[in-house]
């Protein structure tokens, strides 16, 4: 049994729509970096929705760390919160991930919910802002930032929860070359620290020694 495993999954958004996946299987071992590739409409975003417990397969099953993730399992508030804490998801359109008035509050949103003391929240938030060199944006409104800055803030907000698994949908889209190189460095660090990384991106944006496997949809 793998750390993350989708086995023989069939999924369609509606009964009268064609299935996005039919007998599809996917796995990721703990600490692995897996790249998901595929043309537009091949189901990358759907795969990420399944892995995040936002949609559920009609057939087959989704296992995460030995636990079957189903709608019934996530209906329990505690299970859902515990699950979402362990899986961080960076949307392709980071713009819609930001709903707080200040960048600081955006990054501190997760740690505050975890009930950490305010000093720890401050520490985590500042660490995450420093990871992306965006300390100077701390008091700014996310809404008014550029696309690349928004992506950094969204990524920082995801990492502030210290998830075990990081799922990134096109993390380099909209980033300049320097920032993209910074993100690659960060991915190296995340991998070294034992985080599992699943990302949709183009291979030419990723160094060969960073990823372990490529899954083509």
């Amino acid at each position: 049994m793998h750390y993350i495993e989708l086995s023989d999954v069939t999924f369609a958004y509606a009964p009268d729509e064609p299935a996005v996946f039919c007998g599809f299987s996917f796995f990721a071992k703990k600490g692995e970096c897996v790249i998901v590739r595929g043309d537009n409409g091949t189901g990358k975003s759907t795969l990420f929705r399944l892995l995040n417990g936002l949609s559920f397969p009609q057939k087959g099953r989704f296992m995460f760390d030995g636990e079957e993730i189903t709608a019934a399992y996530l209906k329990d508030n505690r299970n859902a919160k515990g699950f979402h804490k362990r899986i961080g998801y960076l949307f392709q359109n980071a713009d819609i991930m930001l709903f707080n008035g200040k960048v600081y509050d955006e990054v501190a949103f997760g740690p505050r919910q975890m009930g950490l003391p305010e000093a720890d929240v401050k520490q985590r938030t500042e660490d995450c802002l420093a990871l992306f060199d965006i300390m100077d944006l701390s008091d700014k409104a996310p809404y008014h930032l550029s696309g690349g800055q928004k992506k950094k803030v969204a990524f920082a907000a995801v990492l502030s929860l210290s998830p075990d698994v990081v799922i990134l949908d096109e993390p380099f889209a909209g980033l300049d070359r320097k920032t993209a190189a910074q993100v690659v460095d960060l991915l190296y660090s995340l991998k070294k620290s034992g985080k599992t990384i699943i990302l949709a991106t183009h291979l030419d944006e990723m160094p060969d020694d960073l990823y372990d496997r490529v899954v083509c949809l």
């Binding site: 995040n52 936002l54 508030n77 505690r78 919160k81 515990g82 979402h84 804490k85 899986i87 998801y89 949307f91 359109n93 819609i96 991930m97 930001l98 709903f99 707080n100 008035g101 949103f109 997760g110 505050r112 919910q113 975890m114 009930g115 720890d120 520490q123 985590r124 660490d127 420093a130 990871l131 992306f132 060199d133 809404y143 907000a157 995801v158 990492l159 929860l161 210290s162 075990d164 910074q182 993100v183 460095d185 960060l186 660090s189 995340l190 620290s193 034992g194």
Partner: protein, 236 residues
């Protein structure tokens, strides 16, 4: 890029606290679903292939006749025609039409209940009003179900409804679905990052609503500018 901080590397044993108040997220999700549903018309344009202008004029005419009729007999004849037409539809679509009409009729009945109780002699008249509400909503639903939004706005323009009104209606209809998607995305992000107890629920909801408002204003401006670039001269 800086080194990862220790807390990010260490194993994090986290037990989520109990937290109520999921109703806010659920309510907003319902709003988003409704907004999305408004725009997604499955429609029967081919089934009733009259031009939208004719249908619109016929609808207005039928609504006027319906309002003016005071006897049950014409209403029953009316009902026979409408339901004979509806019988050619699938059960699911018939239910979609009838559901809203029934709801409106029930609301009308509840509103008229005091009049019925205090003046039983007027029962028939009250029932006629309830039936009129039912058929009125049913006809509007049928029109909505058999006519695409863009054909409705086109019909309004042909009937010389002021351009500003048509433009506003058209933009609103087009953006309802986008706003629904935007709210859906924001709520999904909120859901994924709701990992514990949120002491500032109303701030969060305010943030979601605020971002939605700002984005809607931005999208409106962007679309207007895009239309201007493609030759739109404020004349619809």
């Amino acid at each position: 890029m800086n080194e990862l901080p220790d807390w990010m590397i260490e194993d994090d044993i986290y037990v989520p606290p109990k937290d109520g108040g999921a109703f806010i997220v659920k309510t907003l999700q319902t709003i988003a679903e409704i907004m999305t549903r408004i725009q997604v018309q499955h429609g029967h344009e081919k089934r009733f292939a009259l031009p939208a202008t004719v249908k619109f004029v016929a609808l207005i005419g039928l609504l006027i006749i319906l309002s003016l009729s005071h006897e049950p007999l014409p209403l029953l004849i009316f009902a026979a025609f409408i339901h004979a037409y509806l019988c050619t539809w699938s059960a699911r679509d018939i239910w979609l039409i009838l559901k809203t009409a029934l709801f409106a009729a029930v609301v009308a009945f509840v509103l008229l209940l005091p009049a019925i109780i205090f003046s039983p002699a007027g029962l028939i008249r009250c029932l006629v009003i309830v039936i009129k509400v039912f058929f009125g909503v049913e006809m509007v639903n049928i029109f909505n179900h058999t006519t695409q939004w863009n054909h409705i706005t086109s019909a309004l323009r042909k009937l010389h409804i002021p351009a500003v009104f048509v433009f506003t209606l058209d933009i609103t209809l087009k953006y309802i679905v986008l706003l629904g998607e935007l709210i859906d995305g924001l709520l999904t992000a909120l859901l994924l990052r709701s990992v514990g107890k949120n002491d500032g629920k109303y701030n969060t909801v305010g943030g979601v609503m605020g971002v939605t408002f700002l984005r809607s204003a931005e999208m409106n401006q962007q679309m207007y500018e895009a239309m201007r670039c493609r030759g739109f001269t404020d004349d619809y």
